[in-house]
């Protein structure tokens, strides 16, 4: 075990699932820190077209010119010079699970990825450090024209499509970490659903940071054409080393007229990771976008999935749950920008704080002048499980059209003593009763996940709740 690794006996059972790591011999070929030479190296190694290198270099300039955000959790302890921005664990992605290197396969086997692929998924992608190591899609969907690829591969094989959309929803200048992402992005998913195609089974990608001090910058680009429908799930994890790691991925989703798309994610980064992810969907006329998210891991999370309702009648649902334990700041929320008439949005967020954890809901609903008849509904509930924990709710509402109707409601409180008493009278321990109540609290979010993930999220809550009462 490396010197710096935390003694596994000190970790709780939840962490131990994610904290197993493999030796990282490929790390000897990497270096820490970021400069123009590294960006050129990444682009050259991936044999990218010139326009992509230009975009990377332009993003790097923007990154250097922008300051860290002056709001939200303090990021000044994040040592950006000590991050490894690019590490390639394998030479090329495998199409067959048997071809994946054995040490990497072991990690994903422990996380249950291959089994899920066989049983409940339409396709699977797996990324390890900076590169995708495996990608597959069921034949029946390939035949219908669905493309589910590693984004590096898609850039070679579907360059025009990638170029038309890449970083147009999330511009490099949006903030410092989107600029950083534009400069060093690597790997990720490209998903294209043709017109009218309905993919009934979910597609999944799993992102794993394995080495110490890594940065992961995967880019997920999803295009859902007119009247198409799909569900995509992302899972993320990393082991804990006691050194900062950084995740600054980007998810761009383009939902064409009449289409429906659901994006679910369960983020379990290690508790020394900074999760500064950016997610944005552009939703066209009468299209519908759903975000379902669970944030459990990381030291600091700043994540606010955004829907831009661009076409008349577009709509979005944002459902999220965040769990902030010891040493964690979960600054999460949702942004909806209503640009067109008769657009609607619904935001439901739940947070749980315990052991001095901080959970923050930070949201924006922006009704622009042309959004006549827009309707927005926001509901945030917070549970605070002990005297040291903190919960903040910061919902910004901007209205520039008089016909818009917006309703916001938020509550915060503790576990109800009567509920605990009732469950104890039925023979449950106090700890079990508390876990059951917390699972009930997040149930409106969990029920929107496929069964396997709902069970997993409930189990994670139970593990996080160990030792929380009594």
């Amino acid at each position: 075990m490396p010197q710096e690794a935390i003694d596994k006996s000190q970790r709780n059972s939840h962490d131990s699932l994610w904290d197993d790591y493999d030796s990282s011999s490929y790390m000897s070929k990497t270096r820490k820190g970021l400069d123009e030479d590294l960006i050129r190296f990444i682009s050259q190694e991936k044999k990218e077209p010139d326009w992509m290198l230009s975009l990377r270099l332009e993003s790097f300039k923007i990154y250097q010119s922008l300051a860290l955000p002056d709001w939200g959790p303090k990021l000044d302890k994040l040592d950006l010079k000590n991050i490894t921005y690019y590490a390639r664990a394998t030479d090329q992605p495998a199409q067959n699970w048997d071809d994946v290197p054995i040490d990497i396969k072991n990690t994903f086997n422990k996380l249950g990825i291959p089994q899920a692929e066989q049983e409940v998924l339409a396709g699977v992608g797996a990324q390890y450090e900076s590169t995708v190591i495996y990608h597959s899609l069921r034949e029946e969907y390939k035949e219908q024209g669905v493309i589910f690829e590693d984004l590096d591969v898609a850039l070679r094989e579907h360059e025009d499509l990638v170029r038309r959309y890449f970083m147009t929803g999330i511009k490099p200048g949006l903030h410092k970490f989107s600029a950083l992402h534009g400069a060093v992005w690597s790997g990720g998913t490209f998903l294209y659903i043709p017109k009218g195609v309905r993919v009934d089974l979910p597609l999944q990608a799993y992102f794993r940071m394995n080495a110490k001090g890594m940065g992961q910058f995967e880019h997920t680009l999803i295009i859902v054409e007119d009247n198409a429908q799909a569900h995509y799930i992302e899972g993320c994890s990393a082991p804990r080393y006691g050194a900062d790691s950084l995740h600054a991925g980007a998810v761009e989703i383009f939902v064409a007229p009449g289409a429906r798309f659901r994006y679910s994610s369960v983020e379990s980064w290690s508790k020394d990771a900074y999760n500064l992810n950016t997610k944005r969907a552009i939703v066209e006329e009468n299209a519908h976008m759903e975000w379902v998210g669970g944030n459990f891991g990381s030291h600091v999370t700043m994540l606010y999935p955004c829907s831009v309702l661009k076409g008349r009648g577009a709509s979005a649902d944002h459902l999220g749950v965040a769990f902030a334990g010891q040493g964690q700041i979960q600054d999460t929320g949702a942004k909806v920008i209503h640009l067109a008439p008769e657009t609607s949005s619904n935001i439901i967020m739940k947070s749980i704080s315990k052991d001095s954890g901080q959970s923050i809901y930070r949201g924006l609903v922006d009704i622009e002048p042309d959004a006549a008849g827009a309707v927005a509904n926001i509901k945030c509930d917070a549970l605070i499980l002990d005297e040291e924990s903190i919960s903040d709710t910061i919902p910004l509402i901007k209205v520039k059209n008089q016909s818009a109707i917006i309703a916001h409601e938020a509550t915060a409180g503790k576990l109800n003593d009567d509920d605990i008493f009732y469950l104890r009278s039925r023979g449950l321990s106090e700890e079990r009763a508390a876990a059951l109540i917390v699972n009930g609290f997040i149930e409106p979010i969990v029920k929107e996940l496929p069964l396997e993930y709902a069970v997993e999220m409930n189990r994670m809550i139970e593990l996080e709740m160990e030792g929380s009462v009594g």
């Binding site: 903190i390 919960s391 209205v399 008089q402 309703a407 916001h408 938020a410």
Partner: protein, 246 residues
């Protein structure tokens, strides 16, 4: 009930058991601190209705002693653009019921910052804010409740309402809750709408034009607010000033 008027440039007021329990503030001072001693009941009305168009800036800070009960009313009319900051500090077992109403016209621009700090345990606060925006007016209203670690068993709620009465009016509202104690009840609600579509539909079905219907609904909101002011004469003064703007 005797009403004490705030004097020009009065920056510090102590309200004790011996003092009057009704304070009327016609924005005669830029910054004023009001210290309400333990166990005292106070009604406080801040009324801004200057005809001057010069930009103004006011700050009021109210310290509410243990067991004291305070009702506050903020009314912003007038013609000027302005900044208004209102801070309350609640001690053990104290309570505040805070209502604000602002009615802006033309190109009027108002920034309101409210901070309500729950310092002691078992304190209680209810905060209601009602904004009426006509013409090209704009408001930016930040209303923040801070529950500090010792304010266990506190009970708080904010309700913000924003009514845009014209297509060019704009508003930004931020009802924030910051909670560092776990045995609390805290909630906030915010709504923005022109007026209830059913209400408007009903009034229009009785033959009123849209403007007449909106005017009636504004009067109704103003009357509900004014009726809460414990002094009838002062309530009428506020109501008349609002109706005059219509």
């Amino acid at each position: 009930m005797a009403i004490r008027k705030l004097k020009d440039n009065e920056s510090l007021i102590h309200i004790s058991l011996a003092d009057e329990s009704f304070l009327f503030d016609e924005a005669s001072s830029q910054a004023t601190q009001i210290r309400v001693e333990a166990g005292v009941c106070l009604n406080y009305v801040f009324f801004f209705n200057s005809s001057s168009c010069q930009e103004v800036n006011y700050q009021r800070e109210i310290f509410i002693g243990a067991g004291a009960r305070v009702k506050t009313f903020l009314v912003w009319l007038g013609r000027a653009n302005g900044h208004l900051k209102f801070i309350s500090q609640l001690s053990t077992k104290s309570s505040i019921e805070h209502r604000s109403l602002y009615f802006l016209l033309d190109q009027q621009n108002l920034k309101i910052i409210e901070e309500h700090n729950f310092i002691g345990p078992e304190s209680k606060g209810r905060f209601y804010s009602n904004g009426l925006l006509a013409g090209q007016s704009q408001v930016n209203c930040n209303c923040e409740i801070n529950i500090l670690p010792k304010a266990q068993d506190s009970d708080s709620r904010i309700d913000l309402k924003l009514h845009l009465l014209s297509p060019q009016a704009k508003g930004t509202i931020l009802p924030a809750l910051k909670i560092a104690a776990n045995r609390v009840r805290a909630g906030h609600g915010a709504t923005t709408a022109s007026f209830g579509p059913e209400d408007l539909f009903y009034l229009r079905s009785r033959g009123l034009s849209e403007d007449q219907a909106k005017s009636l609904l504004v009067q109704s909101a103003a009357r509900l607010f004014a009726n809460q002011i414990p002094d009838r004469e002062l309530g009428k003064k506020v109501l008349d000033a609002i109706i005059e703007r219509l």
